[in-house]
Amino acid sequence: MNVLVIDYGMGNLPSVKRAFEECGADVLISGDQGDISKASKLVLPGVGSYAQAMDNIKKSGWFDALQTAVREKSMPLLGICLGMQLLAEEGEEHGHSQGLGFISGNIKKIPSNENIRVPHVGWNEITAKKSDPLLTSIEDGTDFYFVHSYYFNAANENDVLARTPYGAAFPSIVRHGNVWGTQFHPEKSSLPGFQLIRNFLSISQNA
């Protein structure tokens, strides 16, 4: 098994598993931190509210387990949608809550107006800000599927791999060290999503 999809009680886990399998990965969905040692890569999915997610992650022991896996063992981690937002230091959905703190920044609500309906639902394009193995063979202007009301307000522009325009251009892919996050759902983005998943699977431990 090379990919562990973390089950903390929230998220579209079967969809994530199926897409990664379709891309050639051997996938285990697990809520048991002991399974980290069997994996070479971690995926943190997530659909739902920030506060509830962090509550689940702390109570289930994943908070400490992820800190160890990412910071000490340098395991590559991909956060998807809410899972990406959890990588930040702080979220503000349903009150302030502490995040995993892997990538500097906080989570803010998308400001809505007459032309910007929230949630941001649908296919929207990304524009790369840096080159990265995660973006191999993915051109600027490629559409991915988004569904979210909050965005990752990155503290360091250096951590932003790509942006997507919706009102302002928010960070749609972030990376710091061995931790990546996509605001969109690669597992629901058809072929472009598969390309990104394959790129993540190809990243070596020391990329």
């Binding site: 897409a19 659909v47 063979s137 490629t142 559409d143 598969f194 390309q195």
Partner: protein, 262 residues
């Protein structure tokens, strides 16, 4: 720029894929799973699956069926029909649905929308509204697959659903549904103006121009359609080309090394 979505809808009635007219005259048109596979291979923007007999039969969603669909579906999948509790919603999401559509249950228990939104996020709650036009030109909401009047104006109800926490509105004209005579543009515009969340137009698409009008005149962010894609030569891909030529942003699937299984 956010793209306008074209969403094929699959209607399920007692294990079969069906087509009806005006929420009646249902006929079975095959099994659903092959359709899901075809749409997935054609890289549609999104899919909606509605089990239209679940509420009427007093049963919940068929989780096995949904699980089969989702394992073949690598675009977003919205599932509705028979969702009456937080547990139903959770089960569907676990089975691989990305969004849950609620309709009949909202009239009896609108707090259900809030409960699901708080637990799983507003983005996964789609409020389905079925409406009929009255002789005086106003509209009335109907639940239970169009069989039960709710004495409620669809625009006002859409606004309520937004306040309760819905992330999208799926507005369907009961009379137009299955007729391929065009969307009820007045209805779509009324609802679209009433809310600040995305609106999916439904019921009546018969041509690419109809879809264009739902976006341009109706102000919808997405158009769903069933008959046009199942029973004519028209395809979601060509619909998108039609919209693109008229200045509506749509997805353009790029070529990738990866392929999707047949």
């Amino acid at each position: 720029m956010l793209k306008t979505r074209i969403i094929p809808t699959l209607l399920l009635k007692d294990i079969g894929l069906v087509k009806g007219i005006g929420f009646d005259s249902w006929r079975r048109v095959g099994t659903a799973l092959p359709s899901v596979k075809v749409y997935n291979r054609r890289q549609v923007d999104e899919l909606i699956v509605m089990d239209i007999s679940a509420t009427l039969s007093g049963r919940g969603p068929d989780l096995n069926e949904i699980s089969n669909f989702s394992s073949e579906c690598f675009v977003p999948l919205t599932v509705g029909g028979g969702v009456r509790s937080l547990q139903d919603a959770q089960n569907l999401l676990r089975a691989g649905a990305d969004k849950v559509a609620l309709n009949s249950a909202c009239y009896e228990n609108p707090e259900l929308v809030t409960e699901i939104a708080q637990k799983f996020g507003t983005q996964c709650v789609v409020a389905g509204i079925d409406a009929r036009k009255n002789s005086d030109g106003t509209y009335t909401c109907y639940s239970h697959s169009g069989t039960k009047s709710q004495n409620m104006d669809p625009a006002a109800w859409a606004k309520k659903m937004e306040e309760y926490g819905a992330g999208e509105i799926l507005i369907t004209s009961i009379e137009r549904d299955g007729t391929m005579e065009g969307y009820d543009l007045d209805l779509i515009r009324l609802v679209s103006k009433a809310v600040s969340i995305p609106v999916i137009a439904s019921g009546g698409a018969g041509s690419y121009e109809d879809i264009y009008q739902a976006i341009k005149t109706g102000g919808a962010q997405a158009a769903s359609a069933a008959s046009i894609f199942h029973f004519t030569q028209q395809t979601p891909l060509e619909a998108k080309e039609y919209l693109a030529k008229r200045g509506i942003p749509v997805t353009q699937m790029k070529k990738f090394q990866s392929s999707l299984a047949a």
